[in-house]
Symmetry: C2
Subunit: 330 residues, 2 copies
């Protein structure tokens, strides 16, 4: 039946949703809802298009209490840079959770995914990092390296950031960006072991298929957020590290055991602690998070449809308030 | 990255895509491609929203040779009629198969799904119905009852249509619509056994959970297309009928064994003929279809993402030619 649909472009969305405390709070609320057991979140639909070195993922979740649910489509076409195009794209569609009618098209080209992914890092830092984080390290030098540090800065009084990537030039550029954007001390390092040793919070943001963070580098008072692995085959954290940590948490166990760091640890026969807690259990206070400054904690983020529903609903609320976007009558 | 996206509304789409021979040919091409083994078609993503008596399905497929792939989202919210809204809605998104960029938003409110579903019935009739179909019967009285008969009329010189549904008033209304729309003899019947006995082509279009067509009604020279079952729990055709027919074909075996008539036959222990052929195998000439006018054939349609990709790509081509739709710069 013809009805009105709000269309929000990337530009519209950049004007109304930023990576700030409100966004982190909304994503935290989605994680807490996941812990309620009432969220419906089906397995990710994933399709490979080998002829174009491409893949597309579809995520969704219904969260009781949110007026809509999002369906998020994320294509990744890895030959695009040769054509002068970004690898990642996509959009979200917001449906009424009461009638199923399309409410809004969020043509974000992946912007909201970037923001909600970084916001999950913020939620992890809030609940699992030591209170005192003077130095934060980031492994990887892409968009999420920058955004994850921005989210961490919202949560802890970080004074210094260390950056390591395989390409020293990109590490230097990333450090420069972070320093100028946030007015903090940020420097590239040439040794990831040193980065971890000097940091209280480390975020891994790579598509690595071999670990970039070794178990022997763990030290008291360290929190690691691993957000790079989101597919079987990816692995950023030494499988030995997960059981060695005092606390290892998943964004969603059913996803991490297939797509995250937990998969590698299970496959290596190195996970022996049963079902790990989920970040949402910790946010909701149902399971303990960090209980002392000296603990070693690891959080494994694969990205959930609940985050997509949360950010899309939030963006639509902001759009209404701001009068942003245009309307199409279908 | 910001780029141009074509937006086609239901009205735009109704102006450029109809249920005609060209549409049936495009959907037939998609089935033939399925038989090539080169199509990538992941399992359907399905999410139930019990609090709103709703569900949402997401389908997709990549077909080599088609310039785009569609992601189709179909919400079904079955309390909507109480609110004066239709139960079924949805949209399709067309992506470039080369870059993954969004090419078009097809805000069809389910129109293209209706058309591609009926077109699949046309493909089945073309390849499996006897050449001589004087009388066609339809079981069910909704939108697909009308559209499936329209598709059958494109394929066979049908002179008379019989309609049966549980509600005699709806059967009469459906027959009246068919007669006036196509200028044919169409009449409601009060006995589905008589409908089958007098027809050479029968299409079942119901959400039945108990068979509406009995195995003992099968007769030489009959083709049955069962298009209602698309979920575990639905069942239109007596499970005994599948093995009793000379030929039983699926639109997609992996779907029919979970969501179609084949599921009921397997669960009842009444399927003993191994892996059935797919409609695409028959379209592509890789497996035999009907080989004599006297055979009994059954085709089980659950609806495939390949049909969605085919119709969305076709609609976009038509839109370009017609200059239809509007453009949004994301």
């Amino acid at each position: 039946m013809p009805h009105d649909v709000t269309v929000l472009t990337e530009r519209d969305l950049r004007g109304i949703v930023a990576l700030d405390l409100a966004t982190v709070a909304v994503v935290g609320k989605a994680f807490a809802a996941l812990a309620s057991g009432k969220v419906v979140m089906p397995p990710i639909l994933s399709m490979a298009i080998p002829e174009a070195n491409g893949e597309v993922d579809v995520k969704t979740a219904y969260i009781p209490g949110f007026e809509g649910f999002a369906i998020k489509v994320s294509p990744g076409f890895f030959d695009n840079p040769k054509l002068g195009l970004p690898s990642l794209n996509g959009l979200m569609i917001l449906f009424s959770a009461k009638t199923g009618l399309v409410q809004a098209l969020l043509l974000d080209n992946g912007y909201l995914t970037d923001i909600r992914t970084a916001a999950a890092g913020g939620v992890a830092a809030k609940h699992l990092a030591p209170q005192r984080v003077e130095t934060a390290g980031v492994i990887g030098t892409g968009a999420q390296a920058r955004l994850q540090i921005a989210a961490a800065l919202l949560m802890r009084p970080i004074k210094r950031v260390l950056v390591w990537g395989r390409d020293a030039g990109k590490s230097a550029a990333c450090a420069l960006d972070l320093a100028s954007q946030h007015g903090i001390d940020a420097e590239p390092v040439d040794d990831p072991a040193r980065l971890v040793a000097e940091s209280q919070l480390v975020i891994t943001t790579t598509p690595a298929e071999q670990p970039v963070l070794k178990a022997e580098w763990l030290h008291p008072g360290l929190h690691v957020t691993a957000m790079g692995s989101d597919q079987a085959g990816k692995n950023e954290i030494d499988p030995k590290a997960l059981a060695a940590a005092d606390l290892y948490a998943c964004d969603r166990v059913s996803q991490c055991e297939k797509l995250g760091e937990l998969r590698s640890a299970i496959e290596a026969g190195l996970w022996n602690k049963g079902t790990p807690p989920e970040l949402g259990d910790i946010v909701a206070g149902k399971k303990p998070g960090r209980t002392s400054e000296d603990q070693v904690t690891i959080c494994d983020l694969t990205g959930t449809g609940a985050q997509d529903t949360a950010i899309a609903t939030f963006a639509m609320q902001r759009a209404r308030t701001a009068g942003a976007g245009s309307v199409i009558s279908t």
